[in-house]
Structures are given as C-alpha cells and as structure tokens.
Amino acid sequence: MSFFVGLLLYVVVVGILDAKLPWPRPRDPQRRP
C-alpha cells in the first residue's frame, strides 16, 4: 500500500503543486534557481 500511496501523493498531488511554481521549462536556456 505504501508504494501506491507514495506514487499517488508524489506523482499527482505534489506534481500538481510543483507545476504551479515558476520553474524553467525543459527546453529553456539553462537557468538555475
């Protein structure tokens, strides 16, 4: 169960929260935080 809970939390929940942050995009020229 821990595997599926972890996958749901990290891939879906945290993934959505993370996607709302102003990270550079993969094909952007390199910039570090």
């Binding site: 972890g6 929940v13 993969p26």
Partner: protein, 194 residues
C-alpha cells in the same frame, strides 16, 4: 525501499529544476511500476522470509526481469526515449539516470536477489548488500534521503519563486511541505509493513 527513492528524486529536482517533478517521481519508481503487473501475473514474486506476513524488508524479491542490471538499463532507456522527444536530451538523460538510480539504491538494501541478466539464468551472479537485515538502519537511510530531498527542494523552490515570481513564495513552501509529509507518510506505512 520506497520513500528513499522519492527523496532522491526530490533532491534531483533541486539540481535539475527544468525537469518536471512528477516525471522524476515516476522515473524513480519506474522499475517497481513495471514490477506490479508482473507480480500480479506471477511472473515476478516476493518470498517472505520465515513464512510470516510480509513486512518491512523481510522478503527475497524475485524480480528477475525488472530488477536485473540489464533489465534496469533497458527500462531506463525505455523511459528516457519518449522523454527526449517531449523535453529534450538533457531532461531525458536526467530521467534515465533517475530510473537507474532505483537499481543502485535497491542494490544497497536487497538481500542478494538482484541478477545481472533478465530471468536470472542459472550460474549467473546475484547482487544485493542486504541492508534490509537491519531494518532500523535501512529506515534511517530512507529518512535521511527524504529529509535531504525535502530540504534541497524547499531551498530550490523558494529561490526560484523569489527570483521569478515572489507572489508564489507561499506555494513554494506548501509544495515543499507536501514533499516532506508525503515522504514521512510513505516511509511510515512502509515500515509498518503496509
């Protein structure tokens, strides 16, 4: 090991901020994701040591295809190729490396059950340093990875928000909190044998 893989991926996000976190999290568990259908169809299996109920690290894992060295390399490539098409070569290389990191971390904890070749042909070596023989030490290693990844992610997320959109600082802290809480919850469930 489950939570430790997630912790490592969070740390990688801090170093490679352009790679989407969800993809890093999926990559770090890719070998186990592929293991699930093979387990359900009895192609791969877990042998519980002592015959009791399954618990934290008390199994010999016969994942002879997904967790063989060559199998892990093939699965890393299979994950990286579509990533290269979608996000470019650098992101693909990072994601492929994160997929393979699963094999390396598992090598530390598995009990001498990871083969070199898919199918574990007779006479070929098996690997695994067996840290699972000391569950508390293994849990401490996983906790250290979760804490390291969470702190690294927090620092990178806050720095990114501060530099590019200070209005999202609160969101950055919430996301980092979610990284930590998810890791602690996953580790807790794992150690409880759930």
């Amino acid at each position: 090991m489950i939570a430790g893989h997630f912790g490592l991926a969070a740390g990688v996000k801090a170093r490679e901020p352009a790679v989407p976190l969800w993809a890093l999290m999926l990559a770090t568990q890719w070998l186990d994701v592929v293991f699930v259908p093979l387990y359900l169809t009895h192609v791969e299996r877990i042998e519980v040591i002592g015959g009791g109920p399954p618990g934290y690290g008390n199994g010999i894992i016969h994942a002879d295809d997904t967790h063989s060295l060559i199998g892990a390399l093939v699965l890393s490539l299979a994950f990286a190729l579509p990533a290269a098409w979608r996000w470019g070569r650098r992101a693909a290389a990072v994601l492929g490396a994160v997929v393979f990191s699963h094999w390396l971390l598992d090598l530390l904890v598995h009990r001498h059950d990871m083969p070199l070749l898919p199918g574990a042909p007779a006479g070929t070596p098996l690997f695994g340093f067996g840290l699972w023989r000391w569950p508390l030490v293994t849990a401490a290693v996983e906790l250290a990875l979760v804490l390291w990844g969470s702190v690294a992610y927090l620092r990178a997320a806050v720095a990114t928000a501060r530099a590019h959109d200070p209005a999202r600082l609160r969101r950055a802290r919430i996301a980092a909190g979610a990284v930590l809480v998810s890791g602690l919850l996953t580790l807790g469930l794992s150690v409880a044998g759930l």
